[in-house]
């Protein structure tokens, strides 16, 4: 189906919604553009809502206001250069974006990072998950008018960012992962510091649970709102916490056999049977705690040895195709890398979580009220860079 067909179908759906509206009472609908510049869209997402009073009768997300063409740009970069691009996709958990691409390249080259590098990769991966999701937990409050949690979130995320900076040199865009290992080893004293930070983050989770999740207004705004049943969630290709909140026990960290260290530690995949906004937020809270646990346990298990295998100075990836996806903070993030044996990839298809997650917006927003639009969007949790690569 071409883009124009899709737009026409959307228009017809909008007209049909209007026609249904006028059956009982002669009223006039109103089209409300939520975005592109709107505080609830975390950037420049536009959601076209057709309103009857304050009720949404039809909604359609319109992405692409911040399209940066990363899939095309990768074709004119060498393999090591691509990480610089892709860690700008989900800018809150950057390191997690680099890992699946590097793993795909390693898969094509048939090499594997040394065990020490694998464990450090996992630690940094989970730290970027904490940095990402802790900001979500704070932002949740601000979407509903509670201004205090977001500042607590910014304060505590800072500790994690400092750790990432300490290890990699970059706060937001580490660009630390290399084909065959890591750029550097961990600095001195980093492990002890991480232990303390993880404790602080566990406390932060408790604070947020008291301040926000225990609040009756918060619960009444979240429970039973924006319910996504499991089969609908699967149909729309949801992944990550959004899918687990609908009761589907699916986590790529556990279900996949990747050269990373998740199988070495004891942790739990949380699911929630409800599928409402509350479940999605609660799952993320629990996942932050699990990530803290994973980091805490892995810190004791970092093996000795090099952080880099032997790779040629000029990396040429053999011809072939590889698909690797990981469980990123926002959901499944994967790269389909096609190489023709050159310095750079021939084609890279990026599967980012948010793009698929917001595809459910027309379904889930139908019939809700405008205030619930905001809470549902907040609980679906997308990052614009992840939608508009």
């Amino acid at each position: 189906m071409s883009l124009t067909d899709r737009q026409q179908l959307s228009y017809i759906a909008s007209q049909a919604a209007d026609a249904r509206l006028n059956v009982e009472l002669e009223t006039e609908g109103m089209t409300l553009n939520i975005g592109p510049q709107h505080p609830a869209t975390h950037g420049t997402l536009r959601i076209i809502c057709r309103l009857d009073g304050e009720q949404v009768i039809w909604a359609e997300p319109s992405a692409g206001y911040m399209h940066r063409g990363y899939e095309k740009l990768t074709e004119v970069r060498t393999f090591p250069q691509v990480t610089t691009l892709v860690n700008r996709i989900d800018w809150l958990g950057s390191f997690a974006n680099e890992v699946p691409f590097i793993l795909a390249a390693e898969k094509l080259m048939e090499i594997e990072a040394p065990p020490r590098a694998q464990v450090i990769r996992t630690i940094l991966f989970e730290l970027s998950r904490i940095a990402n999701v802790s900001l979500f937990l704070g932002d949740l409050g601000v979407q509903m008018g509670a201004v205090t949690p977001v500042f607590l979130a910014f304060r505590d995320r800072e500790y994690v960012l400092n750790l990432i900076e300490g290890a990699t040199g970059g706060r937001f865009h580490p660009n630390f992962d290399r084909i065959g290992g890591l750029k550097d080893d961990l600095p001195k004293g980093w492990i002890d510091e991480t232990r303390q930070v993880v404790k602080k983050l566990m406390q932060f989770c408790d604070t947020i649970e008291d301040l926000l999740f225990g609040n009756e207004i918060f619960q009444s705004r979240m429970r039973g709102i924006g319910v996504i049943p499991a089969d609908i969630a699967k149909d729309y290709g949801l992944s990550g916490p959004n899918l687990r909140a609908s009761g589907v026990d699916w986590d790529l960290r556990r279900d996949q056999d990747l050269p990373l260290a998740w199988d070495k530690v004891d942790w739990k995949v949380w699911t929630h049977p409800d599928g409402d906004s509350w479940a999605r937020c609660w799952i993320r809270l629990q996942e932050t705690r699990e990530a803290c646990k994973i980091v805490e346990q892995l810190l004791d298990q970092i093996p000795a040895g090099p952080v880099m295998t032997k790779v040629p100075r000029i990396i040429k990836v053999p011809a072939g195709e590889a698909w690797v996806s990981t469980e990123n903070p926002l959901g499944e993030m994967g790269y389909y890398v096609v190489s023709k044996g050159d310095l750079g990839p021939f084609r890279v298809k990026i599967r980012s979580a948010s793009f698929n997650n917001i595809s459910i917006v027309p379904w889930v927003l139908k019939g809700v009220y405008v205030p619930d639009v905001i809470t549902i969007l907040a609980s679906l949790y997308f990052i614009l860079g992840d939608i508009d690569r």
Binding site: E54, G145, F151, N215, S220, V370, P371
Partner: protein, 352 residues
Amino acid sequence: MVHFALEIPYWGQSLLRVVGGLVAVLLPAGGIVYIFLFKMMSFMQSRLGPMEAGPYGSMQLLAEVGKWMQKEDLAPERADKAIYKMAPLIVLLSTFLLIVVVPFGPDAYFTNFETGVFYAMAVGSVSVLGILVAGWASANKYSLLGGLRAAGQLIAYELPMVLATLGVVIQAGSMNLNQIVVAQNDGEIFGFGGLGNPFIITQFVGFMIFMIAVQAELTQVPFDMPIAESELVSGYMTEYSGFRFLIFFIAEFATAGVFAFIASVLFLGGWGIPFDWFGWDGSNLDTVDNWMNVVGPIIMATKMFALVGVIMWVRFSYPRFREDQLQTFAWKFLIPLALLNTAVTAVLKVAF
């Protein structure tokens, strides 16, 4: 007791009243913004707040005012210009009309209506008009939604507020705010007059309803659906810039101060200290010492800041209700409770 005010010519009295009104509205508003919005909020969120302008950031508000005054006074092309420009002034007008009846001492008031409570409840809802026309005249869909939400909400919370006040009026036996203050400070609790009889003790339910309704009237969190930065992008204020936004901003905090003044008059004993302490006679206000006209405003300001502190505390820690939830809360819970409170007060008043 000397009625010094009578020796001043009429124009002088009027000038004094205007200056006094400006001071009584703007000074508390500035204090509230600095103490609560800048500092308390910052400490709650583990940051320092403004620190550069003046000692401890105390001149920050002046800097902000200067910033807003410099900005261009924009109006959307399709806005109803005259009404659009008038709206913030109507909102601020309501605040100034409210301060008129608040007594700050035995003689320190602007006017002394016999039906002061009635007047206060009436002019308090003038701001709804301003908000509604601001939402409509902005020619903006978000503003329209915000304005309509505000109208619905303010009307819904007007009722519990009036009904909560009714309990106080029944107990005091007067609608005059000064008489309500006297009734509290001259009263006794089971024959013990050392503390007076602040109505917060006997009318605690009424006090809670009144404060919740004030929170909603001020459109503060958790009742800030009409403003809702994160969804309606500040609702009816969306299109305003420059000093018209400043007027909305001042009105918001000045009204918080004025409503806290009224709450402290109705429930906390107002400007008074228990009359027993100095042997004053409640039936004759002239027996009250003249220095109460100076101490009274200070007492009022203390009570006002305490009450605004509670309002702001709630504002900074709660998420907001949904529109239908807050309507349900008003019509199905607060109004029946307020009616019950009024009925019980009336029965007890007759019984004792």
